[in-house]
Homo-oligomer: 103 residues x 2
Amino acid sequence: MIIVEGWVRMAGEDIGALRVAAAEMMRATKAAEPGCLEYAFALDLAEPGLLRVIERWVDEVALTAHFATPHMAAFNQALAGAKVLGANIKVYDADEVRTIMER
Amino acid sequence: MIIVEGWVRMAGEDIGALRVAAAEMMRATKAAEPGCLEYAFALDLAEPGLLRVIERWVDEVALTAHFATPHMAAFNQALAGAKVLGANIKVYDADEVRTIMER
């Protein structure tokens, strides 16, 4: 399994403008990509200008295919208008160890 | 490295009530725990009642110690008033592979 984890720092108004496109990107990725196990954008609770990225994929092949999808192209167009103030997103090789909480 | 990733679903008013305690938990964990590499709560962009949990730790020893800290005890008290509608949080063994984005 591959985990993608990180953050993008933006001006608050840019995150507001991206909200609809980001929600659509989450929906389209989970609907159209069977190799996607999790795909979420979320607003940091302590710093509202920090967009957190959380993804899990079955393997690197699935992640590579993701970058070539039409919804990625559409999302990149939406992102082009946003000013990125900082970013750090990394890929991790991961194995599930245990469940802490499940309800 | 250990990654903790998952979500807790709550009523919107419960997340609002938790916001200050959660931000303090993020601050205290990063300030007091050298084995903590990342520790964040974030609101899902598509579902505001979904609190996402993102943590990275140097090892299992650091994660175990985290559960015994005074700030964890304080946060658990704050959590006691919230109604959890669903949850899924897992632990992963992880190795950094590469950086996708860094600015």
